[in-house]
Amino acid sequence: MARIQIITIVINILFIAYISRLIIKGKLREEYAIVWCICTMVLILFSFWRKGLDVMSKLFGVFEPPNLVFTGFIFMILIYLLHLSVVSSKAQHSITKLTQELALLKEKMEKADKEKQAL
């Protein structure tokens, strides 16, 4: 096994351990962890299977195998960024709803308090 393979495998294992730690500590929601786990799996697969990259490049008709890596990863990153935009839009929508509801409730409470004092 080549040195670079061992290095990537070790890094991948550390990465997976860190993701697991984040999930266990409740700092990362499982749904967002899925994509990270899949990425790591792919990396591990290719660190064990050295010829894999050449095979895949031939399959897709890419002349330089590294180009396949860049294209593939940039595409995945774009998709993931889009996903994050969706997540943050959803969060913003929820914050709006909560803020509005809170303002209305506060007003209701104050009104009730005033009525109580008037009695």
């Binding site: 914050i95 709006t96 803020t99 509005q100 809170l102 303002a103 209305l104 007003e107």
Partner: protein
């Protein structure tokens, strides 16, 4: 039975102009048959807007997070819907919209029964007209509105508006959040509500700046175009 009327005043840092607007509003003589309630929506102002508003016998809806004009006005609509108001009138807190002009909106609504009445700067001579660049922008929105609503609306960015109960229900449900004025017209017209413009006098704002200026205006145009386009495409449900 008298009709319940809610005045919604979205405020962000309006401590300088708000007192005058509120005093004029409270002195306003409404025609027979209306019960008026005033709601100031404080959109997380950094100044004393909230304390000043609380000095008056009005309701203050206090937002803990700055939601922008759309979210602030929508809070007013939600209140109007929950409490069964028949009519809501949106009026800016910066003194641009003279309170006595809202009678014109009311009269127009009474006469024609239109669901949404817009107070327009451009249908009448006199009063305050905006700058050249701003007029070009407003021209562009006129075109967009023509395209997406099929109606001739000249002052689609005007925030001086009257909504009847149908429009209130719709706006409480979904209202565009950031620059809602032109986009909401697509929403209303797709839902089959009628829209009408009436000429009103507007004055120069007493204090504060428009939320739309310089570079932001390009962003404004793009954002509104996108949001109108997608509101147009989206199916009403």
């Amino acid at each position: 039975m008298s009709k319940k009327l809610l005045i919604i005043i979205p405020c962000y840092n309006e401590e300088d102009s708000l007192p005058q607007v509120l005093e004029q509003l409270l002195q306003l003589q409404l025609p027979e048959g209306y019960d008026m309630e005033i709601a100031v929506v404080n959109d997380c102002s950094q100044d004393n807007t909230k304390t000043i508003a609380e000095l008056y016998p009005i309701m203050v809806l206090d937002l803990l997070v700055n939601l922008g004009i759309g979210g602030a006005v929508q809070t007013g609509f939600l209140y109007a819907k929950d409490n069964g108001f028949d009519i809501a009138i949106q009026l800016d807190g910066d003194g641009q919209h003279p309170p006595e002009e809202l009678l014109k909106l009311l009269t127009a609504h009474e006469k024609t029964g239109t669901n949404v009445v817009i107070g327009s700067r451009f249908l009448d001579e006199g009063g305050f007209k905006s700058s050249f660049a701003r007029r070009i922008g407003i021209r562009y929105f006129h075109l967009l509105n023509k395209l997406f609503t099929g109606k001739n609306i000249y002052d689609s960015t005007s925030g001086f508006r009257l909504f009847d109960s149908l429009a209130i229900d719709l706006a409480a449900e979904k209202y565009p959040d950031e620059y809602p004025e032109p986009a909401s017209l697509v929403l209303f017209s797709k839902a089959g509500l009628s829209i009408q413009e009436v000429p009103v006098m507007m004055s120069e704002r007493l204090a504060g700046k428009s939320s739309i200026r310089n570079f932001a205006s390009l962003y404004y145009c793009i954002k509104v175009t996108i949001s109108m386009l997608f509101l147009f495409i989206r199916k009403p449900n």
